[in-house]
Symmetry: C2
Subunit: 430 residues, 2 copies
Amino acid sequence: MNKPFRIGIAGLGTVGVGVIKALTKNADIIALRAGCEIKIVAVSARNKGQDRGVDISGFEWVDNAVDLARYGDLDAVIELIGGSEGVAADLVNGTLDNARHVVTANKALLAHHGYDLALKAEDKGVSLTYEAAVAGGVPIIKALREGLAANKIHAVYGILNGTCNYILTMMRETGRDFAEVLKEAQELGYAESDPTFDVEGIDAAHKLCLITSIAFGVKPDFGELQVQGISNINATDIASATEFGYRIKLLGIARDVDGEIMQSVEPCLVPIHSPMGIIEDVYNAVYVEGDSVESPLFTGKGAGEGPTASSVVADIIDLARGIQVPTFGIAAKNLKEAPRISMGDTRARYYLRLNVIDRAGVIADIASILKDNDISIESLVQHGRDPDHVVPIVLTCHETRHAAMIEAVSLIENLDSCAEKPCLMRIEEL
Amino acid sequence: MNKPFRIGIAGLGTVGVGVIKALTKNADIIALRAGCEIKIVAVSARNKGQDRGVDISGFEWVDNAVDLARYGDLDAVIELIGGSEGVAADLVNGTLDNARHVVTANKALLAHHGYDLALKAEDKGVSLTYEAAVAGGVPIIKALREGLAANKIHAVYGILNGTCNYILTMMRETGRDFAEVLKEAQELGYAESDPTFDVEGIDAAHKLCLITSIAFGVKPDFGELQVQGISNINATDIASATEFGYRIKLLGIARDVDGEIMQSVEPCLVPIHSPMGIIEDVYNAVYVEGDSVESPLFTGKGAGEGPTASSVVADIIDLARGIQVPTFGIAAKNLKEAPRISMGDTRARYYLRLNVIDRAGVIADIASILKDNDISIESLVQHGRDPDHVVPIVLTCHETRHAAMIEAVSLIENLDSCAEKPCLMRIEEL
């Protein structure tokens, strides 16, 4: 057997503890697969004394995580601190500068600084890997970067945030509204106490940014991403979608539109029995359209100690085996600044929910605005009658330009009869 | 850019032509991903002059495929001839002997000779890769061998034969019997003129054999595999399964049962909305239970020019990138002769369809045999009444030992009133 592969782990939260557990309980089979022992040499976290349910007394303790970058003779540093700046960024930069491999689960860091870090890793001849950053235990980064490398990718669709998918599933199953279900999800530990990153789509957008980069050979560019969360979706939307034969999913979409890249995270209506429609609860899924492979689908638990640790350890085994692949699938210097399509120029069918005061002429006003913007109504349903009170009107439109739709919604929102912010969602026929 | 990676292709059927097309149309992006040009140097097939829809005039022609093993300065030979013996085996052995990498789609060869070939490849320091051998374009070999390498695998379930899944789906959708649907599938090109390998489960068994080896670190052992096909399933079975809330799927099962390995290909009843129940038509799927990752599911088209070529080319790109992983995930010398569980000792719930002569006492006879074998009936339905003629009786049993079930079915089959071979299927609650 070869000499051990020596690692240091920074961050001993859920994932860090999961990595220690996985490397410990499966040490024998992992050593056989890796071709050598994986040896945890040193660990670092904020609080040395905290009870984490694993014994860390056999590892060297490093007070300042950033020191792991140059600590001892480590082969790789495992960064599980998180955040796009600060300690995590300093540690990853320092480790690469010191020509050591980095394994991370840090999607924010890579979405914001992935290009520079990839350049640095390649310059130093080391790897920067991040399987755990996207879709938890599902090896989708490996699938895109290696398994599907023969393909020109046309599009990737992902359900990338388990918290949102859980909330949307619960809303449908219980008929309750967003706020109530979110509260319950927080109590159950499925949502953070500050849920913004999840429910506003930012976490999914970080992940999509990395997927887009691999799929299309472009620099990760978080700033170019269109992001919309699920907090504006209510029980009427969920019920209406079902009536129309759809499910609402927070979808990450990376799509080649005539050579321009559409990159968007937003709640969409997808057919109930489509590959994305059937993914429920905390499950994640990634659906790929390639020119040879057609339509593989990858799904599984997208978060949690076990699945995330599984991916971190897989990356470590890869490195121990000597497997090195460019961070985003091609040499960083070859990553393009691909043209991003202006979202206004994209076309789709749309779902629109309006809450309006139930009085004569309202629907005529709405229809007139849509007509003036060349938008053709496919169906329109007013749920209930309640003269002079607010009632929801739900409509779907035939395919139209996004910009026209936005303009029309803005005009409708300004009508006296429009009582609440409208809810507009793209319909994706996967 | 590095010097080209030079390959020879043996076999220019559907897959070989697909590989040439994929390497040609995506040459630029593949070169960026691989870090060098992938250069097809030589090709070999039975008939040089045949029109294949691709231009092969730019490649050197080799009359005898086996000669590719030592031809020119190839880096790898792509074996797409097929078959467990003969030219394919000679070519793969010769290529490895000559210390060159082999990429193959040949599941039969690996199921029968995989252990010896893996030893040889490792002895020579080269790779033997076969992503295309299992589940077409879905990179499941890579997922098991690398992406999920952190896990102790508990079980793998696969729908591994698209032809069978198509036939079973069509039987359900049309209510027609096996023979009729098979004939139509043959006319549509979804089934071979000799469908034995597909419908009798042998093709799926070859694939399962490779999955088992990777999942559990054991020598591939085709002889130890329990194989049963779908030709005995009729319209009554399909309709009854639906009534009970199940779909019938030809399932490959590799499962750790208290340290012994169960390895079986057989039609099973799986819940309609389970991960395997929702896989229809020609789609393949692989569902993995690991100790960290829980339950990822991989699905996609399992055959055809594009998907299979996608996987062959992915293997080639891996080699060009310098990625080498042991054939079955660990060094061949470490593969164990793991104990296979005697199928008789496995336990399951069962579905049993009997075609019996409708007369007094028949059900009592059957019930008595089941009781004598300690088998507890869960439900029993006689479809229709037709005194003194043959009618189907469908029953399900609570969990019981396989050996008891086999004994009981054999006794029932010997009853005068039993008019046809019974159909026994395992119920798998995935």
